[in-house]
Amino acid sequence: MRIVSFVAMAALLAGCQAAGGYPPPGMTRPEALKSVETDSAVGAEAAYDAAADPEVRRQIRNRIVRARLYVADVNYNDFARNLSTEQKAFAVGSDIAVLGLAGAGTLAKSARTATRLAAASSGVLGARSAIDKEIYFDKTLPAIVAQMDASRRTVYATIATGLARSDADYSLLQAKADLETYYIAGTIPGALTAITKEAGKQSAVADQKIERIVEYPYSFGNISKRILKYRKPDDKTVDVGHESAMFAWLHANTNVPTVGECILGACTEAEKAQMAKDLAIP
């Protein structure tokens, strides 16, 4: 009975699929690829090689490149659809089902309680792992797809600009290299590379903006409380006169630039005590 329940639960979870969020395409993928087969095939390049007139070569080049762009788009859209919720739900359901069946197998072979518990435990732990993976995937996938879309648009702009140029300025060979870049831009490794590069650039910019970083252990004792009270006698508003006096004292006697930093730990206890003494802080 337990085995049946275990398997039934696993099968139920495996079959639990959400809608993918995509309407059906106008043409199936094979139909779409078939529609541009002539121009996208390797054989189409023979006509380009044979043509002597620059304008004819440009027209053939554009026809070939547009056909291959279309093939890349069809394949990419198919790929993106398969990354959708439906696919992910199936993946997690499958993970759980496999774990459930494996656990059920162990239960069937042995009557020992310990083995049953171990099987149940591995099933639960495994399911947890599958769900964790799913949550992680769910959070990162939109960013990866957005990066793929952005990278593809960037490369597409290069290709579209090239197609407006003469064959001498933008040969089929150059276009083929750009088409390869267009393909890579629509892959998960390509997107991850682009994201990493962008993060590195932003980090470098941030590092340039922060010229100095110092760190102190937090230290807020009785002297700090007295200084803070002197700074804000009513606990609400900074007393400008007291603040200016402390600010001047810090600049004359320490390397600590502000009162706030001083009272949190940038000043030593001895420095705080000296300031309190010199300024007659109660």
Binding site: K209, I210, V214, P217, S244, F247, A266
Partner: protein, 57 residues
């Protein structure tokens, strides 16, 4: 350009008031953040934080 000052091991009970202390007064911090970040602007009871104050230079 800016400089950054970090204060380690600030108890949760002190965090919000110390953020204010760093921002107020002459030459106060332009921005103070915490590690770990505050959830809904509130520190978690019993946790300790690093305050990161950024000052314009």
């Amino acid at each position: 350009m800016a400089r950054q000052v970090r204060f380690r091991n600030v108890p949760a009970a002190d965090v919000l008031e110390r953020i204010e202390n760093l921002k107020e007064g002459q030459g106060g911090a332009t921005f103070v953040e915490t590690l770990p970040p505050l959830i809904d602007g509130q520190p978690e009871d019993g946790a300790t934080y690093t305050l990161i104050a950024t000052y314009a230079t």
